[in-house]
């Protein structure tokens, strides 16, 4: 074998190795990709399909490309849509204002108790979701401690109540999703090196300015992640509204639940589900862009 041949053999080997290395990321993506294709994309296509069908449970459904299903769905649940985003938005804001100081305290003042405090944040998750929500029914009950105290303080009228109002639903959602807000914010705050804050102080920034100019912008990825993790499931939630809310003022999730499982009107339920998804996307895409977190992750 001449040296040229040897070199070309080596080159072929190297090229094969390079090709294999290139294939590795795709192979790693394969299981997740398959999972998504089978259990997410395929059902999604099916869902859109159903949303354009016509018929009843008894007679069966047939595809008629009936786009009016969407108009019907909005006529039926337009106000529920609005209410869903109102409740979910209020709960997300409330959760943000509770979670941020909490995460800040754990990240910067937690010291050796950091991990313990994080476990405490997650502790409610050891109780089932349903049970936690039912517990709020007791907490906010008409003759309960919270309502009585608020009455004594004249914050609500003597005949007022909290249970079966929007307040109760917002309180329930806020509580149930608080950890989803706290953890991403904690992670982004925890990553901020204390010397960055010292550097801001060194450059004449008072604590408030240092927070505004350094800590807050650097924790934006956590805020964005936390608000998305809260807003998205909260907008589609139906448990809080059905257990804590007023049956006359439900959320879109309740209507979907009803249409699918009780009235068995699959096309309308599917149209509502798909619309909900589109509305959520329409909200979060500009939100993620506007918050400019691409710079931070880059």
């Amino acid at each position: 074998m001449t040296t040229d041949e040897a070199t070309s053999l080596v080159n072929v080997g190297a090229r094969q190795a390079a090709r294999r290395r290139k294939a590795v990321p795709y192979l790693l993506l394969l299981p997740g990709g398959l999972w998504l294709a089978i259990f997410y994309i395929a059902p999604m296509i099916q869902l859109v399909g159903i949303s354009l069908q016509e018929g009843t449970y008894q007679t069966g459904y047939s595809m008629t490309w009936r786009w009016e299903n969407y108009a019907d769905a909005f006529a039926l649940a337009g106000s529920h849509f609005l209410r869903s985003f109102l409740y979910a938005g209020a709960a997300t804001l409330l959760a943000l204002f509770i979670a941020y100081p909490l995460a800040y305290g754990i990240a910067f003042r937690g010291g050796k108790y950091k991990n313990l405090l994080l476990v405490l944040v997650l502790m409610p998750f050891l109780t089932p979701f349903l049970l936690r929500t039912l517990a709020w029914k007791v907490i906010l009950a008409d003759s309960g401690f919270v309502v009585e105290t608020l009455k004594t303080l004249h914050i609500i009228s003597p005949s007022g109540r909290i249970l079966a109002t929007g307040w109760a639903v917002v309180a329930g959602i806020t509580y149930n999703f608080l950890a989803f807000m706290t953890l991403p914010i904690y992670v982004s705050l925890e990553k901020i090196h204390p010397s960055l804050i010292e550097a801001a102080n060194d450059l004449y920034a008072k604590p408030v300015t240092a927070f505004r100019k350094v800590t807050l912008p650097l924790s934006m990825p956590g805020i964005v992640a936390g608000t998305l993790l809260t807003l998205i499931p909260a907008a589609g939630d139906f448990v809080n509204a059905s257990l804590l809310g007023n049956p006359q003022r439900l959320m879109v999730g309740n209507i979907i639940d009803n249409r699918f499982l009780r009235i068995v009107d699959y096309p309308t339920a599917a149209a509502l589900s798909f619309s909900l998804m589109l509305v959520i996307l329409a909200i979060i895409i500009p939100y993620v862009r506007a918050s400019g977190t691409e710079d931070l992750v880059a």
Binding site: A199, N201, L203, D295
Partner: protein, 373 residues
């Protein structure tokens, strides 16, 4: 050194107040004594280095001057004004942090402008000053880059520009070159010195690298266990380190325990009775047990019986000879003082090999004296 009152240029009674004065500063973290009753004055426009091993209290001292730690006891003056209780953001002092601490979400321009934005400088002046500063640190044109897209050396320059742009009265540098590779570090040492001379600001530089301190600083304070062991200009403390710690931390040293024979002649005896000479003035009247030290590069290696050996001679056998280009490093085992190291410049091709019997010689005035505590 047991006396803690150490004065350099300015301060303590001179008419011009020193840039920085520390009076009896003590800092404790719980049970740990980080800085122990430190008193120090640093003159205007000096390049001052705080040198010591990790945990000696040098960074804590710097952080107290910057306002990031409060001293447990004592007061800190900046240009004659007591700033002890003042927060960092109220002190006319800026810092170059060890890991640079550049704001990752801001561009180079905004990083450098950060301090000016807090002080109501108008837009035109701000832009002009940032441009000038980026020019000074040779970063012009990188205004819009983010720190993550810069090399280590460039990040270091941004950190420097960000601090200097505010015209601080004192600039604090906390191991600023620690993260750079050797070649870049050497370049930045010269660069920092140039910039310090150009801007005429007092630099206080914390480092554990003795060569870095000697390259840049006018005055070096060697710290050990929360105290300053020795302070002076680099050559002075290198030639006469006075304590064993300084002798070993600042370069290498050969130390030999001796007893006095004749104080006026400066003659002393080693453990096995060999007579050595030291400068008589180095022997204070109360000196009895102490050590004679000599730097490895001041020892020369001779063939036994060679004619021109200086007065201080010890004989031994070469245990190790390492050729490193400009010089050869020998370890010579002597019966008198154990293993001594000698660094001999490769002026000629004549070298000694392992196992050879040699004489080590040095001039009395090249030795220093260490008083054991």
């Amino acid at each position: 050194m047991t006396d803690t009152t150490i004065t350099t240029q300015g301060g303590f009674g001179s008419s011009e107040p020193a840039a920085v004065e520390l009076f009896n500063i003590t800092k404790r973290f719980g049970d740990v004594l980080a800085v122990d009753d430190l008193t120090l004055a640093i003159g205007e426009n000096k390049f001052f280095a705080l040198l010591g091993p990790s945990g000696c209290g040098k960074t804590t001292t710097l952080r107290m001057i910057g306002g990031f730690e409060d001293p447990t006891e004592g007061t800190i003056n900046l240009h004659g004004e007591d700033v002890t209780g003042l927060k960092a953001y109220r002190r006319p002092v800026n810092t170059v942090f060890q890991s640079y601490a550049l704001f990752p979400h801001l561009s180079v321009f905004e990083n450098v402008a950060f301090g000016l934005r807090r002080t109501n400088v108008d837009k035109g002046e701000l832009e002009q000053r940032v441009a000038e500063m980026l020019d000074l640190v040779q970063l012009s044109g990188l205004d819009n880059r983010h720190p993550a897209k810069l090399s280590g050396g460039q990040q270091q320059r941004v950190a420097l520009a960000r601090a200097l742009i505010n015209h601080p009265r004192v600039l604090l540098l906390d191991e600023p070159l620690g993260a750079l590779d050797l070649k870049l570090r050497k370049e930045m040492q010269i660069e920092l010195k140039r910039i310090q001379q150009e801007v005429g600001i007092t630099f206080i530089h914390v480092t554990h690298d003795q060569e870095e301190a000697m390259t840049m600083a006018d005055t070096i304070a060697v710290m050990n266990k929360g105290k300053i062991e020795r302070m002076g200009d680099p050559a002075e403390i290198y030639e006469d380190p006075r304590t064993a710690f300084v002798a070993n931390f600042l370069g290498g040293s050969n130390l030999m325990p001796v007893t006095v024979i004749d104080r006026t002649a400066g003659s002393v005896a080693t453990a096995d009775g060999t007579t050595l000479f030291v400068p008589p003035k180095a022997l204070s009247p109360d000196t009895h047990g102490f050590r004679v030290g000599v730097r490895p590069e001041k020892l020369n290696v001779y063939r036994p019986g060679s004619g021109d050996i200086p007065p201080n001679v010890l004989t031994g056998r070469v245990m190790d000879a390492s050729f490193i280009g400009v010089s050869t490093h020998y370890v010579v085992r002597t019966s008198t003082a154990g293993d001594l190291s000698a660094v001999v410049q490769n002026l000629t091709g004549d070298r000694f090999s392992q196992g050879e019997e040699v004489s080590l010689g040095w001039h009395p005035e090249r030795s220093f004296v260490i008083h054991d505590d």
